[in-house]
Symmetry: D2
């Protein structure tokens, strides 16, 4: 005769699709490390002053779980990330309890090979996993975040796995964030349900390295009226991501986002290709080389080259925490639909918004302001304005 | 008994300090080339749609002259720039008439070695050269633009050459733009005269390559809450600029601006040095390498490197034309004092303004809006607002 | 009744397959320019002291002609190369006579679209063009050099165009050099004729940029016992070469040579891919980026990156002149078979030889010594040794 | 009444000047790790096949000790290197016994601040430390290796610290290797003693990164007859080395070696500077950027850039083990004087030898051959040749 867990307003679930991957493991371990004061919150925009008093859930209130199709336990995954230099060497043992706790909340996803369940049965099973997680944890709400490997661009009408998970999030009544280029909630068959759900959602395809750079360099060339003739790039990466993107169809999905950023910021599509090479010995480290040939005054030919050497998991994980907090708070305040103000985080943002990173940052700060405004109790003299603000905001999301 | 030249509202003088240098020669030749339709106005921000109907002087209305202490004729200088690939090979002959015309309006500057004139006598002589130019050309106004070689940081109270020219601009009643890191109008002894003059002025130190990049990369790191640990750089350049900057005192002047951009955009001063090497065989071409070591989540160490290979004259010249047009129009409309809205162009801008390039661009676009607003004839229903706008603008300049 | 042209021992023909291409045009123009004293022989190894008195034909004695399937006249091609910065601007007019002269000796190659001639008829027609050239010019000998665009790797038994030209060279009794990765004389069906011909030949695939670098960097890692884990590269190039290599089959031919150099110098085949991108706006300029991940002591991970920005035609042309001279002299002295000592110039050299550039250079210098030795008239006391040397040399070529 | 330790022919001392530094610690830990089979001997040239049966002392036979002026225990130093990624994380504990053992054999060097001992007293005290070490360990011989921080170029006649240690090595009858650019045995006042000692010695200034690269790239340009116009470089490094080299006098010592390599391989001294920046946050990791502007055929301007990211200690340590073994074996076989054949390891090698790395490697392999030849017991039929070889070798060393 167990007591029903009480729902705590201070506990927020983060349900990770791909919960045993590098990004998820780094997010879980990092949240615990920052909470414990072992590391500063480097890379977390929501921990900067601009988000002060925006009512975001505190890091200690985040509870992690998720789906995955592999079974390597999180503590072991963390050890291997530490061996590869992605996590500090002593971190896995320091946050062993939190990793084990999250590990207990990971369920096998699907569809698995030989799975005979119908689409609807699968979605229901996945949704039930999420509901159970929320129930067990007494969670006020749960944000579903896709951080699994990039899928090939789907062909035909069948929902790809990422869209099954997104449908499950909707069914479980959860806000949804797609950090990958996979279809997810973006599938045309899910559009009606997404619109009807009244849930906030964000995505897609996190902007962590080469495209982050492009989102500031593209505007620079445009603002200075310099003519970009060719923008070529090569990405070298190992780990699971390198292997997944060695599939040309998956790479095509990823590259579409990269090129969109250039087209949107430059106003034209320059010559040049972008390669993604699987180099297993680089592990989770990524090197991205960009070569930009541009014309100056009187046609003088010039070149900018950039080389970015980063660890994708370390770049993505703090953004995952940011997005979970922002989306949870938006949900709490009744914001629904595509969160265009979160375009700062994505290559291919939902809704309408600017492409230059600086403008996207301004919109993000504006989103913090609105969260604060929405949370203010309407006084006798200002009920209209606040209601208007809430309506305007919701309107922009449609 | 010569007839007095009539003042044409459509003719605007551009008086270049360092009129026989690479930047000046490229500006004069390029203005003629674009006017003649030989080249598109690549690199000229004022030729983009945002400046439509801002009332800027048309390119064909610009008349060039200036001071220099060397005597290589402009057509010959242009030939040598073409040989070095800075100008298209056939341009010097195509715009020979315009180069010769500008060459006739160049006067010997000063002080020359052995010059025994007092400061005041020098300033007066320089000012008279400018007045004569305006008179001969029947110019509505003349903008003085400093594009001469970088001076060492001045010591003591004596006005350096750049400040003598700036004082001459004030005395001749001309708006002033300092595209170099030299003192110019920035000298404390000139502050009272600048304030009293009612003239608009802008500067200093054009942002054309490495610092342009830094002004977009610095904000990127700051907005993403990534911790920059060290920012190191090396510039290789030949030409006169390389030789001038081989003087450590001149390099110090230049580097102060570069570091200011980092400090302003990052909020801290990272480790790292910036070198400027004179490499004569590179001629007017500059290579700038930057190495940025930064920390991601949980202290993971990452690196961004950039290599910029550009031709400084080609990058600077269109900005000179932009600045002359913007400053001339501001003067025409009665705007006075430091033009903080032109911070987009400078490493160390006058007045108060943001450091990230994107925000500076927004201010520049705002400046275009204000120029349009100031020019609108006040109708019966709106005199107050326009006057207010003009006052507010002037006020911000103080 | 025209007089028979007399054969001049001092005139040597250079018959270029791809005679209207960038490399051929640069070789013809450059030979004239160096002969006229307009430029130093930069990039020509045969003009260094080590080749003193090796009896190579003098540059003014070289007479150019060749086959091509396009009809742009050489003087016009040279103009367009000058416009792209590949040739000095004033060179086309300075060597106009020599360009026109070579242009008159260019014949349409084949097979052309719709060509119904048999293989043998084609070879005979091509060979006759070469014989006519030699006859008209009174040439002592003619070296055939393939500098045409890279062909796809041939499939099946049909001779590709490059092999038809090679067969024509054999039939006309001419030494042959293959500067491209195409099959040329390397086709199995030509092996018997090549062996029976008694002619010297060299190739294949000139080593001008990225692979040149690899041939010194590979040995460095091997000699220092550093473990290369991954060697990745990207080439950006425009011009005809970029377009030809955008064909995956042609790129495969090219990349095989690049990888061979790594395998031969490192002793293993590291991870990593090599891309060749067609970037038309780069014209004849090529940028090659290499990223080499290697392990040091105790497994410490390190990286070397190189960026090579060069003009392929300028790099290749002096090597073409070198090869024509060396091969002509070898032919004159009766050397036959594969010239393994010329491995210095090639990615995939004929015969047996070392892969590190330094050792290849030593072999090349040794070749110069042998040419001198072979040329020395046997005195009464040394007939044996010289004969022995000649025999040994010929033996090594088999 | 302690028993006299017996001298074991299989135990060879390695006495490190700077025994608590990064390089020394990595050498000691690495020797133990390779001995224990924990890591392959990556970076140790003496473990490659070419040194098979050259009679070098086996790694387990090396016994470490040395001088230093700091007192951080080796096990602790190893921990901090592991934290910085220079050593594998688990290595310090795996080889704790060997580190502790070496630590017990480290003595305070000198001169210390306020030291009033005369030069001769200091040398004697240092020599006595070395003799005591050899005696305690029952060592057949001891090689003294300088791996301490770079000293400023000495001025005047006083022996700098590095030369005091070198003099102590001579006095203790020990072969000497100078891996740094400091004066060491190179001081003019030590020349007579070095010549009279009959001891072999090697140096100076290990070639581990940027200069290693230059020693293969310089020859490439020279062999291809390409004209290098400017060679510029910047080194960023932290750790003790960065701080020491921030002293312009120390940097000058280091740069002299770097420039010597260029001058020796190119035959000219190109334009360009080399900077060494102290960037503490990079720790033991070094980044070296080189920019090489060169001319191709007809003066076409091209550029090669290289970026080397390595860990100096990991690059240097295996070379220290190589040098100790080679020098010990040379001493055992009676070779004396400067070991020019070890130029492969140094920027500024003793004796006469080639500058290109490939040729230096061939000389090193030749040295292995000579060691084998010297060790062969003269049979009745070959005493002359062996004696001759030994004499020839010794002669070349003079």
């Amino acid at each position: 005769m167990s007591a029903e867990p009480s729902v705590s307003p201070s506990r927020v679930g983060v349900w990770l699709i791909g919960a045993r991957g590098s990004v998820a493991t780094t997010a879980v371990a990092g949240c615990a490390a920052v909470t414990a004061g072992l590391h500063p919150p480097t890379g977390m925009v929501t921990e900067t002053g601009a988000f002060h008093e925006a009512g975001l859930p505190a890091l200690p209130s985040l509870v992690f779980g998720g789906h995955d199709v592999v079974d390597c336990p999180l503590p072991k995954r963390a050890e291997s990330l530490a061996a590869g230099g992605v996590l500090p060497h002593d971190l896995p043992s320091a946050v062993a309890a939190e990793l084990a706790s999250a590990d207990r909340e990971i369920r096998i996803g699907g569809p698995l090979p030989g799975d005979t369940r119908t689409e609807d049965e699968l979605i229901e099973a996945l949704a039930q996993d999420i509901r159970d997680f929320a129930h067990r944890g007494g969670l006020a709400r749960t944000v579903v975040v896709n951080v699994s490997s990039t899928e090939p661009v789907p062909e035909g009408d069948t929902l790809p796995a990422s869209s099954l998970y997104a449908a499950a999030a909707l069914r479980a009544g959860c806000p949804y964030v797609n950090f990958t280029p996979s279809a997810g909630l973006h599938h045309p068959r899910l559009a009606p349900a997404a619109a009807a759900s009244g849930l906030p959602y964000a995505g897609r395809d996190g902007k962590t390295g080469q495209t982050l750079l492009r989102s500031v360099l593209g505007p620079m060339f445009a603002q200075r009226a310099l003519a970009v003739r060719a923008w070529s790039g090569t990405n070298l990466l190992g780990g699971g991501d390198g292997a997944a993107l060695a599939d040309p169809a998956a790479a095509a999905a990823k590259n579409a986002g990269k090129e969109r950023v250039l087209a949107d910021t430059l106003g034209t599509v320059p010559e040049g290709e972008t390669h993604i090479d699987d180099v297993p010995s680089l592990g989770d480290w990524k090197t991205a080389w960009d070569h930009i040939a541009f014309d100056g005054f009187l046609g003088t030919r010039m070149v900018l080259q950039t080389t970015w050497q980063g660890c994708d998991s370390s770049l993505a994980a703090p953004l995952i925490l940011d997005l979970a907090r922002l989306t949870a708070r938006a949900h709490e305040l009744g914001v629904s639909g595509p969160l265009a103000e979160l375009g700062f985080y994505f290559k291919d943002p939902v809704g309408e918004g600017p492409a230059p990173l600086g403008e996207q940052y301004a919109h993000l700060i504006g989103f913090a302001d609105r969260l604060r405004e929405l949370a203010r109790p309407p006084g006798p003299e200002e009920p209209r304005e606040v209601r208007d603000a809430a309506e305007r905001m919701a309107g922009e999301h449609r």
